[in-house]
C-alpha cells in the first residue's frame, strides 16, 4: 500500500509556492491565487491544484470545486490561438450558434477543447460590448465582426501558416 504521488517540476513547484506566499497562504485568497497561477501556466492542471491546496492548507476537492465553478478557470491548456465566440443575446440572435457549430466542425473539437496540434482552442463568452458587429468572434486579441458560417474557413486560413 503505497502513498499517492504528485509529480511536478521543481521550477513550477517554486513558482506556485511563491504565488501562494504572495497572498500569505490564506485559504480566502484561493480565487486570486488561481488567477495568478493560470496567468503563469495558461491553465490549471490537477498537479497544480494539488500544490495550491497544500500551500493554502485546504482540501484539493475544494480547489477543484472552485476551478470548475468559474468558467474563467480551465484545466485544459488553451491553444496557441484561442478562439472565443460571443453567445451573448445580440450575437446569438444574429446566428452565433451556427458560427460556433461551423468552428466545431472545421476544428473537430468541442467547446473547452484544444486541437491535437495545440494550435486552436474553442470557448464561448458572453458579450464583448460590440453588439453592432454581431455575431462577434475573437481570435486571441483580434476581433472579427459579422461572422457568418461561410467566413469561418477564411478566419482559420489566416492562422494556418503561423
Amino acid at each position: 500500500m503505497s502513498s499517492i504521488k504528485v509529480k511536478i517540476k521543481e521550477k513550477d513547484l517554486n513558482t506556485i509556492k511563491e504565488i501562494c506566499k504572495s497572498f500569505d497562504n490564506k485559504p480566502g485568497e484561493l480565487i486570486n491565487v488561481l488567477h495568478k497561477t493560470q496567468e503563469k501556466f495558461g491553465y490549471l492542471p490537477a498537479e497544480v491544484q494539488e500544490i495550491v491546496a497544500k500551500e493554502l492548507n485546504m482540501s484539493v476537492a475544494k480547489v477543484y470545486g472552485v476551478v470548475t465553478f468559474y468558467s474563467f478557470f480551465t484545466m485544459t491548456p488553451k491553444g496557441k490561438f484561442p478562439i472565443s465566440i460571443c453567445t451573448g443575446t445580440a450575437c446569438y440572435v444574429r446566428g452565433a450558434d451556427n458560427v460556433l457549430q461551423e468552428f466545431k466542425r472545421q476544428l473537430e473539437i468541442e467547446v473547452g477543447e484544444t486541437t491535437d496540434d495545440g494550435k486552436f482552442s474553442l470557448s464561448c463568452l458572453r458579450c464583448v460590448g460590440a453588439c453592432g458587429l454581431a455575431p462577434v468572434v475573437l481570435v486571441g486579441d483580434k476581433t472579427y465582426g459579422r461572422v457568418s458560417p461561410e467566413g469561418v474557413k477564411e478566419i482559420l486560413e489566416e492562422y494556418k501558416e503561423i
Binding site: 502513498s3 504521488k5 504528485v6 511536478i8 497544500k54 476537492a61 470545486g65 470548475t68
Partner: protein, 591 residues
C-alpha cells in the same frame, strides 16, 4: 441575550435574537419542510446552505419569500408558513428539483427511507412540468468498498460536504461544476477509493436521497447461507442491538439483543456470536499494551509513545494514515474487535468445529460502513482468504430480516452461542463514545493495582460533549484520559500531541457522532439527535444488566488465553490480534 416577539401562523412566541424563523417555528411545534437544512442538536452539527428553497415562508412586509432556515427573526415579525403563495412556491421548487432527478424509485436503494420521496408525497406532486427541458446528469456510479455514489441523484443539499469537511475535516468531498452538471464528490471527480475518504459513512448517514448509499452485501450473505458446504457464523457489533428495533417501528433506544439473535438463527446462521466477545479480547490486548507503555514511561523510558490512542475504529485508522502518517506508531497496535473476532474464528474456533478455514464464512453485522473496507484490507487476509468475509450494516440486516418475512417485534428472546458469544458489560459499551476507554479502565485499573474496583460506572467518561477530559486515580497514579468523537475533534487532540502539549496517557477516538451508535450503517436518524442519545442510554442499560462487567472476568476470554493464546501480547496474540499502519498521505515528487 435580547428577546424578540414574533407571530408564526397566528401563534405568538418569544425567542432569543439571532434565532432563525425555522427554529422559532420548531419551538412552536411547526415543522417547516426542508431538504437541505439539517441540525443535530447538542452535537454542534448544522447544515444551512439555504440552497433547496423548500423551507420558504411568507414574511409580512417583505416582497420575496424568505428561506426560513437562514433568515433571522425580528421583533414584531409576522410569518406565514403555509399561505397559498408559500405552498405554490414550494411545489414549484420541488418540481424543479425533481425535473432532473432519475425516476427509478422502485429499484432505488433509498426507496422507503428517502427524504426526497417523502417530500414529493407530502407536497402531493403528481406531475413534473418541464422535465423534458431538464438535462439529466450522466455521472458514472462510483463503487468503493464501502460507499456507492450515484451522483445523478444528488440534489445539492450539501449535507455530505458539511459532514466530510466541517465535522470530520477529511476534505474528500466538495461541490463542483454548476447548473444541471453540479454534484458533490472528490477532486477531479476521481473515485472515493483514490481520495482521502475514510469511509466513515457520515455522508451516507445524512444524504436525503439515493445519491449516497452503502455497498450492499446482503446477496453475498444469502448466497453463503444457501451453500451447504459452508459453515456460516455471524458476529454482531454492540451498537446494532440498540438501533435495529427502529427499523421495525420500535422506539429509539429499545434493546433488541435477544430478538436479533433469534432472527439471525432463523436466517440460517450456524452459530450466532457476538463482537462484544472480541471487544473483551481487545481490552485484554489494548489494556495490557497501555499498562505496558505507562509502566515503562513511569520507569523513565523516554522512547515509549504516550498517549496511546485507541484503534478500534477503522475510519479513524484511515484518517491518521491519510492525514497524520508521521504519528502512526502512537495508536495501539491492537486490531479492531471485528478483526480480532475474524482472526480467532478462523483459527481457534474453526479448529474446535473441525472446519477448514476456507469452508468457514464469517459475517459481521456492523453499525458502520468503514468496516466493509476494513474487512478487505490485505493485512487481514490469510492466503487471500479474509478473516471477515462480509460485513453488513444494521440497515442491511433489517432488509434481510424483512425479506425473510420475519417480524422482529414478535420474535422470542434467545441467547448467543458459546464460546464466542459470551461478553461482559465492558464489551457492550464499546458501542458508544467513551465506552472503549471506560472498558479499558475497568480492566487496567484492576490489573495495575491488584485491587477490586468498587464503582464500575465512570460517569466522567460518559456524555456527548465533543472532547472530554478526565483523570482516573490508579491507586495513587493519576491517569489522564481524553475522549473525542468526530474526526474534526480528534484532529484537535492530534495537533496537541504533535505540538508536544498533550497531557494525556490514553485517548479514545471514534469517528461518528456519539460513537458507533451514530455510525454510517445505522438506521437513518433524519437529523434527530435525541435518537442517538436514546441509543447510547440503551447501551449503558445493557451494560448495567450484565452479570459480568469487566473484560478480564469473561470466562470464555480466560479460557481462550488458557487454551490458545497464552497471555496478552504473547507472540501468538501479536500475530493474530495486532496489526501495523501505513502512510497513505499524498506526496509531492519532483519530475
Amino acid at each position: 441575550m435580547n428577546k424578540v416577539k414574533l407571530t408564526i401562523d397566528d401563534k405568538q412566541i418569544e425567542v432569543e435574537q439571532g434565532t432563525t424563523i425555522y427554529k422559532a417555528a420548531k419551538e412552536l411545534g411547526i415543522e417547516i419542510p426542508t431538504l437541505c437544512y439539517m441540525n443535530l442538536e447538542g452535537l454542534n452539527i448544522e447544515n444551512k446552505p439555504g440552497g433547496c428553497r423548500i423551507c420558504v415562508v411568507e414574511v409580512e412586509g417583505r416582497n420575496n419569500l424568505a428561506p426560513s432556515c437562514s433568515t433571522n427573526v425580528w421583533d414584531g415579525m409576522v410569518v406565514n408558513t403555509h399561505s397559498m403563495r408559500v405552498i405554490n412556491a414550494r411545489r414549484t421548487v420541488m418540481e424543479f428539483i425533481l425535473s432532473d432527478h432519475p425516476k427509478d424509485c422502485l429499484t432505488c436503494p433509498k426507496s422507503g427511507s428517502c427524504e426526497l420521496q417523502d417530500m414529493a408525497t407530502k407536497l402531493g406532486i403528481r406531475e413534473i412540468p418541464g422535465q423534458e427541458y431538464a438535462e439529466m446528469s450522466t455521472y458514472k456510479t462510483d463503487f468503493s468498498p464501502s460507499i456507492i455514489r450515484d451522483l445523478d441523484k444528488c440534489i445539492m443539499c450539501r449535507r455530505c460536504e458539511m459532514m466530510c469537511n466541517e465535522f470530520q475535516t477529511v476534505g474528500a468531498l466538495s461541490a463542483f461544476h454548476r447548473g444541471f452538471e453540479s454534484a458533490v464528490g472528490p477532486a477531479f471527480e476521481m473515485d472515493l477509493e483514490h481520495s482521502s475518504c475514510t469511509y466513515c459513512g457520515q455522508c451516507v448517514a445524512v444524504c436525503p436521497t439515493g445519491a449516497l448509499t452503502e455497498k450492499d452485501h446482503t446477496r453475498d450473505v444469502i448466497n453463503a447461507l444457501s451453500d451447504p458446504t459452508k459453515k456460516v457464523i455471524v458476529q454482531t457489533a454492540p451498537a446494532v442491538r440498540a438501533a435495529l428495533g427502529e427499523e421495525f417501528g420500535m422506539e429509539a433506544g429499545t434493546l433488541v439483543t435477544g430478538k436479533m439473535v433469534s432472527a439471525l438463527r432463523r436466517l440460517g446462521f450456524d452459530y450466532v456470536f457476538d463482537t462484544d466477545f472480541a471487544a473483551d479480547l481487545t481490552i485484554m490486548e489494548e489494556g495490557t499494551e497501555l499498562l505496558d507503555r505507562i509502566t515503562k514511561y513511569l520507569g523513565g523510558d523516554k522512547e515509549v509513545k504516550l498517549p496511546m490512542l485507541t484503534s478500534c475504529c477503522p475510519a479513524w485508522v484511515s484518517f491518521f494514515e491519510h492525514h497524520f502518517p508521521e504519528m502512526k506508531d502512537i495508536p495501539s497496535t491492537a486490531r479492531s474487535p471485528q478483526q480480532m473476532f475474524g482472526s480467532i474464528a478462523k483459527t481457534y474456533f474453526a479448529d474446535k468445529i473441525s472446519t477448514k478455514r476456507e469452508d468457514l464464512i464469517v459475517v459481521s453485522i456492523m453499525p458502520c460502513l468503514a468496516k466493509k473496507y476494513e474487512a478487505q484490507r490485505d493485512e487481514f487476509k490469510v492466503d487471500d482468504n479474509p478473516d471477515v468475509d462480509f460485513s453488513i450494516s444494521t440497515r442491511e440486516l433489517a432488509h434481510l430480516i424483512k425479506e425473510a418475512n420475519l417480524d422482529l417485534n414478535i420474535l422470542p428472546d434467545e441467547d448467543f452461542d458459546k464460546p464466542l458469544g459470551e461478553s461482559s458489560g465492558a464489551g457492550v459499551i464499546f458501542g458508544t463514545t467513551g465506552g472503549v476507554i471506560e472498558a479499558a479502565v475497568r480492566t487496567a485499573y484492576e490489573l495495575h493495582t491488584g485491587k477490586k474496583l468498587e464503582k464500575l460506572d465512570f460517569e466522567q467518561l460518559r456524555g456527548f460533549e465533543a472532547i472530554r477530559k478526565a483523570t482516573v486515580d490508579f491507586d495513587g497514579t493519576p491517569i489522564n484520559i481524553g475522549i473525542a468523537h468526530g474526526l474534526g475533534n480528534a484532529r484537535k487532540l492530534l495537533e496537541e500531541i504533535k505540538e508536544g502539549k498533550s497531557e494525556f496517557h490514553a485517548i479514545e477516538i471514534m469517528s461518528c457522532p456519539g460513537g458507533c451508535i451514530g455510525g454510517g450503517g445505522q438506521p437513518l436518524h433524519h437529523s434527530d439527535s435525541s435518537i442517538l442519545k436514546a441509543r447510547s442510554e440503551a447501551i449503558y442499560r445493557e451494560d448495567a444488566g450484565k452479570p459480568i462487567r469487566k473484560s478480564h472476568e469473561n470466562p470464555y476470554i480466560i479460557k481462550l488465553y488458557e487454551e490458545f493464546l497464552g497471555k496478552p501480547m504473547s507472540e501468538k496474540a501479536h500475530h493474530l490480534l495486532h496489526t501495523a499502519y501505513f502512510d497513505k498521505s499524498k506526496k509531492i515528487e519532483m519530475s
